[in-house]
């Protein structure tokens, strides 16, 4: 499988108190563990099982994902702009790998 590639969309600037729309996607097969390969063997589960979003280090939003989230999991959610800083995203894969992305927000 190709290396999962995170993509995010976060505004660069916002007014204090504004509610921002955030988009986060990672390219990923989300192999459910329920499918069989050509020889009839079950293909092991490998999914993104958790997602988190930290705003200046504080956990502000997270998701537990199960097998029924579609391939290339896409999330559109919101954050309230409080202060300038970084918004960090992390996707946790079965087996322990973590993929990350970050955005910078200037609050005026």
């Amino acid at each position: 499988m190709a290396t999962p590639e995170p993509r995010i969309r976060v505004p660069n600037t916002a007014a204090k108190g504004e509610i921002l729309e955030v988009k986060a996607l990672i390219t990923h097969q989300m192999e459910t563990g329920l499918r069989r390969d050509a020889t009839g063997k079950l293909m092991p589960r490998k999914i993104i099982n958790a997602f988190s979003c930290r705003y200046n280090g504080e956990l502000v939003f997270s998701v537990e994902l199960h097998e029924a989230v579609a391939a290339n999991p896409y999330l559109e959610f919101h954050l309230r702009a409080e202060e300038s800083g970084t918004i960090e995203f992390a996707w946790h894969e079965d087996g322990g790998a973590v993929y990350t992305a970050r955005g910078t927000l200037t609050v005026t």
């Binding site: 509610i19 939003f61 998701v63 029924a68 989230v69 391939a71 999330l75 559109e76």
Partner: protein, 150 residues
Amino acid sequence: MSSGSVMTRRAVLGTVALAGAALAMRPARGAPDPEIALAEQLFGRAPVPSERLQLDMPAVFPNGYTVPLAFEVDCPMTDADHVRAVHVVAPRNPLVRVASFHFTPRSGRARISTRIRLAEPQNVIAVAEMSDGVLLLAKTRVEVEVNGCA
């Protein structure tokens, strides 16, 4: 028409009997519908159907592998009154839990848009866990034409 509108005693009694039978076929008072029963089994408490939780999915979708799902909870998202989590459940998938979304007051708005897999046509359920401990339920029927291997 006038003769048809005259209710004989026999017709009245028949109507009453039918109404009684219809009442008897409804679930007994306190017996929850299957979605509420499943949610209670999964989350420990029975949720209350609520229009504060809007679950938006297409009624018919060609492909069960990537079905759009969006929801929003009508809530101010303050420290005192916010959504803690929303759980999405697909009761007729081989694994019924789809995802759980955890919010904080800093989310600002409890709205999500994502895409899920449905193994067959079914009622998809969302349960919102509010900061006061109340569980809200919404459900929507989705017909998929090609089943997604969940």
